[in-house]
Amino acid sequence: MTTDQSTHRLTLFTMLVYWGCILLGLGIPWLATMGVDVLKHNQSLADAAHHLDLHLFAPGYNIFLVGLLNAVPFVLFAIFVLFHMGLAPALDRKLCGRRAAGVLVTAIGMIGLSAWTHVMTLWFPDAQGALAYLFLPFVLLGLMPIAYALGRGLGSLIFR
């Protein structure tokens, strides 16, 4: 593989993870709201989108703010990825592979945990459910180094 190809692939991977994390962090609560409306309340996709639109800024719901709150750890992680992967030496396949494994495991872990929390909170509504939205960003921040260490360890096994 040429230097240009390696650099191009690394750049593409970094940008995909960077923007993917930001947009999913923002959109997971909105997608979860629509998903639960469609799957649990048997609404059409158009009705679910209308329902989301009505509740984005409604007092007591504020789904727009919930999205912003959820996005905070994802944005921090995305910035970390931008520098960690973006400045990695593209030709050092072993180092790049290990870092990519760490980043991917962390991203998947964060997206999975966030999506699961939002879907469960909406699927089984509870008076204290909204507390999950407050605690989730902190839990995601705590998950980040743990998931990265796991991914990096896995990467070390794969890229020897």
Binding site: H55, L56, P59, F64, G86, L87
Partner: protein, 328 residues
């Protein structure tokens, strides 16, 4: 990646954050009012309910929505919409809220029980502003329809003022033959800070009620009554830049025992919000002669721009001076 690419991506993130901030700004505060008025005038019930709730939170700057809210609160149709629209009015326009009250007050005597139920719910949704409706509500505490009686009790609990009459009505409801009505009455004592020696005695009796939910709730009401409302806590809440309705009503329920709150209440007579000025004057009225030091500020408030506030101020002055002159 080159450093330039990294900075470009960071810049993109900055632009996205600025856009999100702009979207949020456009959809909150006074800027949201035109959109919410459109929602009120739509045929989408959920949009109407959420718009009314949104306008209630915006408060005074949502003046432009008053005609649409009045229309929704008084038009024929669903009662839940009436209550939601009526509930938004007190924070925006006290006089408009009073117009809704005047519209519903005669309906308490309607032969159709559904109309009486709706009227009681709407009057309750108006909260303390519907104070002149208390006598009418007490008058239907013996209604033949259980749901009317239950909604009347909840309405009295929401209106709160004047505390002595509301307390009398709630005491009457504690002896209602229907358990749902007794339950609604006990709830007012469990969570809202209403308390008196008579209510405590009645609640103690109800701890032996044959209906278990009523007996359990009465037990919690007795426990709540034994924990007196802390005036310093209410004063602390009044210092917060949030909705002051709750602490003001808690102080009103304390009556003369809230005398130490008078200096703070006097300063609140100058509040920007008519609802706060109205509640402050009503609280001073409940305190009575012990609020004597508020008289100069109340006399100034007699020139308040809002007629409903002026009426409450006049009632407060009468309560303070009349009772003071009869006290030896």
């Amino acid at each position: 990646m080159t450093k330039r690419q990294i900075w470009l991506n960071l810049g993109g993130l900055g632009v996205l954050m600025a856009l999100l901030g702009l979207v949020y700004w456009q959809h909150t505060g006074i800027r949201a009012v035109p959109g919410l008025i459109e929602d009120l005038q739509s045929q989408d019930r959920q949009a109407q309910m959420l718009a009314a709730e949104g306008l209630k939170h915006i408060g005074l700057p949502a003046q432009a929505a008053v005609p649409a809210l009045l229309e929704l609160a008084t038009s024929a149709g669903r009662s839940s919409l009436h209550s939601e629209a009526a509930g938004a009015l007190p924070t925006i326009d006290l006089s408009a809220a009073r117009r809704v009250m005047v519209h519903y007050l005669p309906k308490l005597q309607d032969p159709d029980s559904q109309i009486r139920r709706d009227a009681a719910s709407v009057l309750g949704a108006l909260g303390p502003v519907a104070r002149p409706a208390v006598q009418g509500l007490i008058g239907i505490l013996n209604d033949s329809d259980t749901v009317v009686r239950e909604r009347t009790v909840r309405a009295l609990g929401a209106i709160v003022l004047p505390t002595d009459r509301v307390m009398g009505g709630l005491l009457q409801a504690l002896r209602d033959p229907e358990w749902t009505v007794r339950y609604a009455a006990v709830m007012q004592f469990s969570f809202s800070g209403f308390s008196s020696p008579e209510s405590l005695a009645a609640l103690r009796d109800l701890t032996k009620d044959s209906n278990q939910p009523v007996a359990r709730l009465a037990q919690s009401a007795v426990t709540a009554a034994e924990r007196p409302t802390s005036i310093p806590v209410q004063l602390l809440m009044l210092d917060q830049p949030v909705d002051r309705t709750y602490p003001l009503l808690q102080l009103a329920k304390l009556g003369p025992r809230a005398a130490e709150a008078v200096p703070k209440l006097t300063s609140l007579l100058m509040s920007e919000l008519p609802l706060e000025r109205y509640l402050t004057a009503s609280t001073l009225e409940s305190i009575g002669p012990a609020a004597k030091e508020a008289v100069p500020a109340l006399q100034q408030a007699l020139h308040d721009a809002d007629p409903v506030v002026r009426e409450a101020v006049a009632a407060a002055l009468e309560s303070i001076t009349r009772t003071a002159s009869t006290t030896p």
